[in-house]
Protein backbone atom coordinates (compact mmCIF):
# COMPACT_ATOMS: atom_id res chain seq x y z
CA UNK A 1 0.00 0.00 0.00
CA UNK A 2 1.71 3.25 -1.07
CA UNK A 3 2.02 6.07 1.44
CA UNK A 4 -0.76 8.52 0.52
CA UNK A 5 1.02 11.48 2.10
CA UNK A 6 4.12 10.79 0.04
CA UNK A 7 2.01 10.67 -3.14
CA UNK A 8 0.25 13.93 -2.22
CA UNK A 9 3.62 15.59 -1.55
CA UNK A 10 4.97 14.35 -4.88
CA UNK A 11 1.90 15.68 -6.77
CA UNK A 12 2.15 19.02 -4.93
CA UNK A 13 5.85 19.41 -5.75
CA UNK A 14 5.25 18.43 -9.40
CA UNK A 15 2.58 21.13 -9.87
CA UNK A 16 4.18 24.27 -11.37
CA UNK A 17 4.00 27.21 -8.90
CA UNK A 18 1.90 29.43 -11.22
CA UNK A 19 -0.68 26.62 -11.74
CA UNK A 20 -0.84 25.98 -8.00
CA UNK A 21 -1.40 29.68 -7.37
CA UNK A 22 -4.15 29.86 -9.98
CA UNK A 23 -5.91 26.77 -8.59
CA UNK A 24 -5.74 28.04 -5.00
CA UNK A 25 -7.65 31.16 -6.13
CA UNK A 26 -10.56 29.11 -7.53
CA UNK A 27 -13.72 28.24 -5.65
CA UNK A 28 -14.91 24.62 -5.30
CA UNK A 29 -17.67 25.39 -7.78
CA UNK A 30 -15.18 26.61 -10.41
CA UNK A 31 -13.01 23.53 -9.96
CA UNK A 32 -16.10 21.33 -10.36
CA UNK A 33 -16.94 23.17 -13.59
CA UNK A 34 -13.39 22.64 -14.88
CA UNK A 35 -13.78 18.89 -14.36
CA UNK A 36 -17.24 18.73 -15.92
CA UNK A 37 -16.55 21.07 -18.85
CA UNK A 38 -14.69 18.59 -21.14
CA UNK A 39 -17.58 16.10 -20.93
CA UNK A 40 -20.13 18.85 -21.56
CA UNK A 41 -18.18 20.16 -24.56
CA UNK A 42 -17.91 16.62 -25.94
CA UNK A 43 -21.64 16.03 -25.47
CA UNK A 44 -22.47 19.34 -27.15
CA UNK A 45 -20.19 18.50 -30.07
CA UNK A 46 -21.38 14.91 -30.53
CA UNK A 47 -25.08 15.13 -29.61
CA UNK A 48 -26.42 18.66 -29.61
CA UNK A 49 -24.58 20.15 -32.60
CA UNK A 50 -25.60 17.36 -35.06
CA UNK A 51 -29.20 17.71 -33.84
CA UNK A 52 -29.23 21.47 -34.43
CA UNK A 53 -27.50 20.96 -37.79
CA UNK A 54 -30.13 18.36 -38.81
CA UNK A 55 -32.90 20.80 -37.89
CA UNK A 56 -31.19 23.42 -40.08
CA UNK A 57 -30.74 20.98 -43.00
CA UNK A 58 -34.41 19.96 -42.79
CA UNK A 59 -35.34 23.47 -43.98
CA UNK A 60 -32.91 23.46 -46.93
CA UNK A 61 -32.50 21.69 -50.29
CA UNK A 62 -29.00 20.44 -49.36
CA UNK A 63 -27.94 17.17 -51.00
CA UNK A 64 -24.83 15.44 -49.68
CA UNK A 65 -23.81 14.19 -53.16
CA UNK A 66 -23.85 17.78 -54.50
CA UNK A 67 -22.00 19.76 -51.83
CA UNK A 68 -21.15 22.66 -54.18
CA UNK A 69 -24.76 23.40 -55.11
CA UNK A 70 -26.20 26.57 -53.60
CA UNK A 71 -28.15 25.80 -50.44
CA UNK A 72 -31.65 27.28 -50.65
CA UNK A 73 -34.11 27.62 -47.80
CA UNK A 74 -37.25 25.61 -48.65
CA UNK A 75 -39.16 26.29 -45.43
CA UNK A 76 -41.53 23.51 -44.35
CA UNK A 77 -41.64 21.86 -47.80
CA UNK A 78 -40.00 18.58 -46.73
CA UNK A 79 -42.25 18.30 -43.67
CA UNK A 80 -45.32 18.84 -45.88
CA UNK A 81 -44.01 16.29 -48.43
CA UNK A 82 -43.38 13.65 -45.76
CA UNK A 83 -46.69 14.20 -44.00
CA UNK A 84 -48.62 13.85 -47.24
CA UNK A 85 -46.60 11.01 -48.79
CA UNK A 86 -48.45 7.66 -49.12
CA UNK A 87 -45.08 5.82 -49.21
CA UNK A 88 -43.97 7.25 -45.86
CA UNK A 89 -47.45 6.61 -44.46
CA UNK A 90 -47.14 2.96 -45.59
CA UNK A 91 -43.72 2.77 -43.90
CA UNK A 92 -45.26 4.14 -40.70
CA UNK A 93 -47.98 1.49 -40.86
CA UNK A 94 -45.38 -1.25 -41.43
CA UNK A 95 -43.54 0.12 -38.38
CA UNK A 96 -46.79 0.15 -36.38
CA UNK A 97 -47.54 -3.48 -37.35
CA UNK A 98 -44.05 -4.48 -36.30
CA UNK A 99 -44.12 -2.48 -33.04
CA UNK A 100 -47.63 -3.59 -32.02
CA UNK A 101 -47.20 -7.32 -32.59
CA UNK A 102 -43.66 -7.55 -31.19
CA UNK A 103 -44.80 -5.77 -28.02
CA UNK A 104 -47.92 -7.93 -27.77
CA UNK A 105 -46.02 -11.22 -28.03
CA UNK A 106 -43.03 -10.09 -25.99
CA UNK A 107 -45.23 -8.88 -23.13
CA UNK A 108 -47.41 -11.99 -23.15
CA UNK A 109 -44.55 -14.48 -23.33
CA UNK A 110 -42.16 -12.36 -21.23
CA UNK A 111 -44.65 -12.00 -18.37
CA UNK A 112 -45.56 -15.69 -18.58
CA UNK A 113 -41.90 -16.71 -18.38
CA UNK A 114 -41.28 -14.26 -15.49
CA UNK A 115 -44.27 -15.72 -13.63
CA UNK A 116 -42.88 -19.24 -14.08
CA UNK A 117 -39.30 -18.29 -13.16
CA UNK A 118 -40.61 -16.49 -10.06
CA UNK A 119 -41.94 -19.85 -8.76
CA UNK A 120 -38.30 -20.72 -7.91
CA UNK A 121 -38.40 -24.34 -9.08
CA UNK A 122 -35.32 -26.53 -9.08
CA UNK A 123 -32.77 -25.26 -11.62
CA UNK A 124 -34.55 -21.94 -12.18
CA UNK A 125 -31.24 -20.06 -12.22
CA UNK A 126 -29.95 -22.30 -15.03
CA UNK A 127 -33.10 -21.81 -17.10
CA UNK A 128 -33.03 -18.05 -16.52
CA UNK A 129 -29.52 -17.96 -18.01
CA UNK A 130 -30.59 -20.10 -20.99
CA UNK A 131 -33.61 -17.86 -21.65
CA UNK A 132 -31.42 -14.73 -21.53
CA UNK A 133 -28.99 -15.93 -24.25
CA UNK A 134 -30.84 -14.47 -27.32
CA UNK A 135 -30.79 -11.01 -25.76
CA UNK A 136 -27.01 -11.13 -25.45
CA UNK A 137 -26.43 -11.75 -29.17
CA UNK A 138 -25.70 -9.03 -31.69
CA UNK A 139 -28.67 -8.10 -33.96
CA UNK A 140 -26.36 -8.65 -36.96
CA UNK A 141 -25.67 -12.23 -35.86
CA UNK A 142 -29.36 -12.85 -35.13
CA UNK A 143 -30.37 -11.43 -38.53
CA UNK A 144 -27.90 -13.64 -40.36
CA UNK A 145 -28.64 -16.91 -38.65
CA UNK A 146 -32.42 -16.44 -38.81
CA UNK A 147 -31.96 -15.88 -42.55
CA UNK A 148 -30.54 -19.40 -42.69
CA UNK A 149 -33.28 -20.76 -40.42
CA UNK A 150 -35.94 -19.28 -42.73
CA UNK A 151 -34.30 -20.74 -45.86
CA UNK A 152 -37.09 -22.76 -47.60
CA UNK A 153 -34.83 -25.65 -48.73
CA UNK A 154 -32.42 -26.12 -45.84
CA UNK A 155 -33.87 -23.93 -43.07
CA UNK A 156 -34.91 -25.56 -39.81
CA UNK A 157 -37.92 -23.25 -39.33
CA UNK A 158 -39.80 -24.55 -42.39
CA UNK A 159 -39.14 -28.15 -41.31
CA UNK A 160 -40.51 -27.48 -37.81
CA UNK A 161 -43.66 -25.88 -39.29
CA UNK A 162 -43.93 -28.80 -41.70
CA UNK A 163 -43.61 -31.29 -38.82
CA UNK A 164 -46.52 -29.71 -36.91
CA UNK A 165 -48.82 -28.77 -39.82
CA UNK A 166 -48.00 -31.21 -42.61
CA UNK A 167 -47.36 -28.40 -45.12
CA UNK A 168 -44.37 -29.25 -47.36
CA UNK A 169 -41.32 -27.29 -46.08
CA UNK A 170 -40.32 -25.82 -49.45
CA UNK A 171 -43.89 -24.70 -50.29
CA UNK A 172 -43.63 -21.42 -48.39
CA UNK A 173 -40.96 -18.79 -48.02
CA UNK A 174 -41.05 -16.71 -44.84
CA UNK A 175 -38.82 -13.89 -46.11
CA UNK A 176 -39.99 -13.91 -49.73
CA UNK A 177 -43.75 -13.83 -49.20
CA UNK A 178 -45.62 -10.52 -48.96
CA UNK A 179 -47.97 -11.91 -46.30
CA UNK A 180 -45.38 -13.85 -44.27
CA UNK A 181 -42.39 -11.47 -44.28
CA UNK A 182 -43.90 -8.95 -41.80
CA UNK A 183 -44.54 -11.87 -39.43
CA UNK A 184 -41.04 -13.27 -40.00
CA UNK A 185 -39.45 -10.11 -38.57
CA UNK A 186 -41.96 -10.10 -35.69
CA UNK A 187 -40.96 -13.70 -34.80
CA UNK A 188 -37.23 -12.88 -34.80
CA UNK A 189 -37.61 -9.74 -32.68
CA UNK A 190 -39.89 -11.59 -30.26
CA UNK A 191 -37.35 -14.42 -29.99
CA UNK A 192 -34.55 -11.96 -29.31
CA UNK A 193 -36.17 -9.46 -26.92
CA UNK A 194 -38.69 -11.50 -24.91
CA UNK A 195 -35.98 -12.25 -22.30
CA UNK A 196 -35.55 -8.52 -21.75
CA UNK A 197 -39.26 -8.07 -21.04
CA UNK A 198 -39.09 -11.14 -18.82
CA UNK A 199 -36.28 -9.58 -16.76
CA UNK A 200 -38.25 -6.36 -16.16
CA UNK A 201 -41.42 -8.30 -15.29
CA UNK A 202 -39.41 -10.54 -12.97
CA UNK A 203 -38.12 -7.45 -11.14
CA UNK A 204 -41.74 -6.34 -10.76
CA UNK A 205 -42.89 -9.71 -9.45
CA UNK A 206 -39.99 -9.93 -6.99
CA UNK A 207 -40.86 -6.46 -5.63
CA UNK A 208 -44.28 -7.64 -4.39
CA UNK A 209 -43.99 -8.31 -0.63
CA UNK A 210 -44.89 -11.83 0.56
CA UNK A 211 -47.11 -10.52 3.37
CA UNK A 212 -49.70 -9.36 0.83
CA UNK A 213 -50.08 -12.93 -0.43
CA UNK A 214 -50.14 -14.20 3.17
CA UNK A 215 -52.97 -11.78 3.97
CA UNK A 216 -54.81 -12.95 0.84
CA UNK A 217 -54.34 -16.59 1.94
CA UNK A 218 -55.83 -15.72 5.33
CA UNK A 219 -58.80 -14.17 3.51
CA UNK A 220 -59.10 -17.41 1.51
CA UNK A 221 -58.51 -15.71 -1.83
CA UNK A 222 -58.01 -18.23 -4.64
CA UNK A 223 -54.79 -18.26 -6.72
CA UNK A 224 -56.75 -16.85 -9.63
CA UNK A 225 -58.07 -14.00 -7.46
CA UNK A 226 -54.58 -13.35 -6.06
CA UNK A 227 -53.21 -13.09 -9.59
CA UNK A 228 -55.84 -10.57 -10.77
CA UNK A 229 -56.02 -8.52 -7.54
CA UNK A 230 -52.40 -8.55 -6.35
CA UNK A 231 -49.85 -9.83 -8.88
CA UNK A 232 -51.07 -8.11 -12.03
CA UNK A 233 -51.87 -4.63 -10.56
CA UNK A 234 -48.57 -4.51 -8.67
CA UNK A 235 -46.50 -5.68 -11.63
CA UNK A 236 -48.36 -3.40 -14.08
CA UNK A 237 -46.02 -0.36 -13.81
CA UNK A 238 -43.09 -2.66 -14.65
CA UNK A 239 -44.97 -4.20 -17.57
CA UNK A 240 -45.77 -0.68 -18.81
CA UNK A 241 -42.12 0.23 -18.53
CA UNK A 242 -41.13 -2.80 -20.60
CA UNK A 243 -43.81 -1.99 -23.19
CA UNK A 244 -42.66 1.61 -23.53
CA UNK A 245 -39.00 0.68 -23.67
CA UNK A 246 -39.55 -1.95 -26.36
CA UNK A 247 -41.90 0.42 -28.18
CA UNK A 248 -39.25 3.11 -28.41
CA UNK A 249 -36.55 0.63 -29.44
CA UNK A 250 -38.69 -1.07 -32.08
CA UNK A 251 -39.85 2.23 -33.51
CA UNK A 252 -36.18 2.80 -34.42
CA UNK A 253 -35.57 -0.81 -35.57
CA UNK A 254 -33.16 -0.99 -38.49
CA UNK A 255 -30.23 -3.44 -38.38
CA UNK A 256 -32.00 -6.76 -37.85
CA UNK A 257 -34.72 -6.08 -40.44
CA UNK A 258 -32.20 -4.88 -43.05
CA UNK A 259 -30.22 -8.09 -42.61
CA UNK A 260 -33.33 -10.27 -42.74
CA UNK A 261 -35.41 -8.76 -45.55
CA UNK A 262 -33.75 -5.49 -46.61
CA UNK A 263 -37.24 -3.95 -46.46
CA UNK A 264 -38.69 -6.43 -48.99
CA UNK A 265 -40.40 -8.15 -50.63
CA UNK A 266 -41.41 -4.92 -52.37
CA UNK A 267 -41.73 -2.55 -49.45
CA UNK A 268 -43.79 -4.75 -47.11
CA UNK A 269 -41.16 -4.73 -44.35
CA UNK A 270 -39.76 -1.29 -45.10
CA UNK A 271 -39.87 0.28 -41.66
CA UNK A 272 -39.58 4.06 -41.15
CA UNK A 273 -35.86 3.90 -40.37
CA UNK A 274 -35.19 1.92 -43.58
CA UNK A 275 -37.11 4.51 -45.65
CA UNK A 276 -35.06 7.20 -43.94
CA UNK A 277 -31.78 5.47 -44.79
CA UNK A 278 -32.85 5.01 -48.43
CA UNK A 279 -33.76 8.68 -48.79
CA UNK A 280 -30.52 9.80 -47.13
CA UNK A 281 -27.93 7.46 -48.68
CA UNK A 282 -29.51 6.06 -51.85
CA UNK A 283 -31.57 9.02 -53.13
CA UNK A 284 -29.25 11.58 -51.48
CA UNK A 285 -32.18 13.78 -50.43
CA UNK A 286 -30.39 15.08 -47.36
CA UNK A 287 -32.84 17.89 -46.55
CA UNK A 288 -35.83 15.56 -46.93
CA UNK A 289 -34.23 12.82 -44.84
CA UNK A 290 -33.23 15.38 -42.18
CA UNK A 291 -36.88 16.45 -41.89
CA UNK A 292 -37.87 12.77 -41.67
CA UNK A 293 -35.24 12.20 -38.97
CA UNK A 294 -36.61 15.18 -37.00
CA UNK A 295 -40.16 13.79 -37.24
CA UNK A 296 -38.98 10.40 -35.97
CA UNK A 297 -36.93 12.11 -33.26
CA UNK A 298 -39.92 14.09 -31.99
CA UNK A 299 -42.08 10.96 -31.93
CA UNK A 300 -39.44 8.96 -30.05
CA UNK A 301 -38.83 11.92 -27.71
CA UNK A 302 -42.58 12.11 -27.04
CA UNK A 303 -42.67 8.39 -26.27
CA UNK A 304 -39.62 8.83 -24.05
CA UNK A 305 -41.57 11.44 -22.06
CA UNK A 306 -44.29 8.86 -21.42
CA UNK A 307 -41.53 6.45 -20.42
CA UNK A 308 -40.08 8.97 -17.93
CA UNK A 309 -43.53 9.50 -16.42
CA UNK A 310 -44.06 5.74 -16.06
CA UNK A 311 -40.62 5.46 -14.48
CA UNK A 312 -41.47 8.17 -11.94
CA UNK A 313 -44.66 6.32 -11.04
CA UNK A 314 -42.63 3.13 -10.46
CA UNK A 315 -40.20 5.10 -8.28
CA UNK A 316 -43.08 6.52 -6.21
CA UNK A 317 -44.26 3.01 -5.31
Amino acid sequence: MPDMNAIADRVASATPPHVGKAIRGLSDRSIAWIFVAPTMILLLAINIFPLIWTVYLSFTNYASNRPNRAVVNVGLKWYQDILSSPEVWAAMQATAHFVFWTIFFQTLIGFGLAYLIDRKFRGHAFWTTIILIPMMLSPAVVGNFWKFLYQPQIGLFNYVISFFTGIPPSSFEMLGSVTLAPWAIVIVDTWMWTPYVMLICLAGLRSIPDYIYEAAEVDRASKWRQFWSITLPMALPFIMLAVLFRGIENFKMFDMVVLLTGGGPGSTTELASITLKRQAFEAYRTGYSSAFAIILFVVVFGLANIYVRALNKVKQR
Binding site: Y79, V299, L303, N305
Partner: protein, 73 residues
Protein backbone atom coordinates in the same frame (compact mmCIF):
# COMPACT_ATOMS: atom_id res chain seq x y z
CA UNK B 1 -37.71 24.98 12.37
CA UNK B 2 -37.80 28.74 12.24
CA UNK B 3 -37.10 28.59 8.53
CA UNK B 4 -40.07 26.30 8.14
CA UNK B 5 -42.37 28.56 10.09
CA UNK B 6 -41.18 31.56 8.03
CA UNK B 7 -41.54 29.89 4.65
CA UNK B 8 -44.74 27.92 5.21
CA UNK B 9 -47.26 30.78 4.88
CA UNK B 10 -45.75 32.02 1.61
CA UNK B 11 -45.63 28.43 0.25
CA UNK B 12 -49.23 27.97 1.28
CA UNK B 13 -50.21 31.21 -0.42
CA UNK B 14 -48.35 30.16 -3.57
CA UNK B 15 -50.07 26.77 -3.50
CA UNK B 16 -53.43 28.51 -3.14
CA UNK B 17 -52.71 30.84 -6.04
CA UNK B 18 -51.81 27.98 -8.38
CA UNK B 19 -55.06 26.78 -10.05
CA UNK B 20 -56.07 23.19 -9.37
CA UNK B 21 -56.59 22.37 -13.06
CA UNK B 22 -53.03 23.50 -13.85
CA UNK B 23 -51.37 21.14 -11.35
CA UNK B 24 -48.48 19.14 -12.73
CA UNK B 25 -50.11 15.74 -12.50
CA UNK B 26 -53.22 16.81 -14.41
CA UNK B 27 -51.35 18.71 -17.10
CA UNK B 28 -48.81 15.91 -17.56
CA UNK B 29 -51.68 13.49 -18.14
CA UNK B 30 -53.10 15.81 -20.82
CA UNK B 31 -49.66 16.08 -22.48
CA UNK B 32 -49.16 12.31 -22.41
CA UNK B 33 -52.64 11.82 -23.90
CA UNK B 34 -51.76 14.27 -26.70
CA UNK B 35 -48.51 12.42 -27.46
CA UNK B 36 -50.31 9.06 -27.50
CA UNK B 37 -53.05 10.49 -29.74
CA UNK B 38 -50.43 11.91 -32.11
CA UNK B 39 -48.59 8.58 -32.35
CA UNK B 40 -51.88 6.79 -33.04
CA UNK B 41 -52.69 9.34 -35.76
CA UNK B 42 -49.26 8.76 -37.26
CA UNK B 43 -49.62 5.01 -37.63
CA UNK B 44 -53.37 4.55 -38.27
CA UNK B 45 -54.25 3.17 -41.72
CA UNK B 46 -57.60 4.98 -42.21
CA UNK B 47 -57.08 8.68 -43.00
CA UNK B 48 -54.14 10.47 -44.59
CA UNK B 49 -55.51 13.76 -43.19
CA UNK B 50 -55.10 12.46 -39.64
CA UNK B 51 -51.61 11.27 -40.63
CA UNK B 52 -50.83 14.77 -41.90
CA UNK B 53 -51.76 16.35 -38.56
CA UNK B 54 -50.09 13.70 -36.41
CA UNK B 55 -46.68 15.35 -36.18
CA UNK B 56 -48.19 18.65 -35.03
CA UNK B 57 -50.12 16.84 -32.28
CA UNK B 58 -47.05 14.89 -31.08
CA UNK B 59 -44.95 18.06 -31.15
CA UNK B 60 -47.60 19.99 -29.20
CA UNK B 61 -47.82 17.19 -26.62
CA UNK B 62 -44.04 16.96 -26.26
CA UNK B 63 -43.56 20.71 -25.85
CA UNK B 64 -46.46 20.81 -23.39
CA UNK B 65 -44.94 17.95 -21.38
CA UNK B 66 -41.60 19.75 -21.19
CA UNK B 67 -43.31 22.91 -19.89
CA UNK B 68 -45.81 21.37 -17.46
CA UNK B 69 -43.25 19.01 -15.91
CA UNK B 70 -41.86 22.17 -14.23
CA UNK B 71 -45.24 23.02 -12.66
CA UNK B 72 -45.79 22.45 -8.91
CA UNK B 73 -47.43 19.19 -7.74
Amino acid sequence: MSLQSQSSPSNGAQRKRWPRWARRNVMESVAVALIALGVLMLVQPFSITLYGWSFSVVLAGTVMFMIVSKFPE
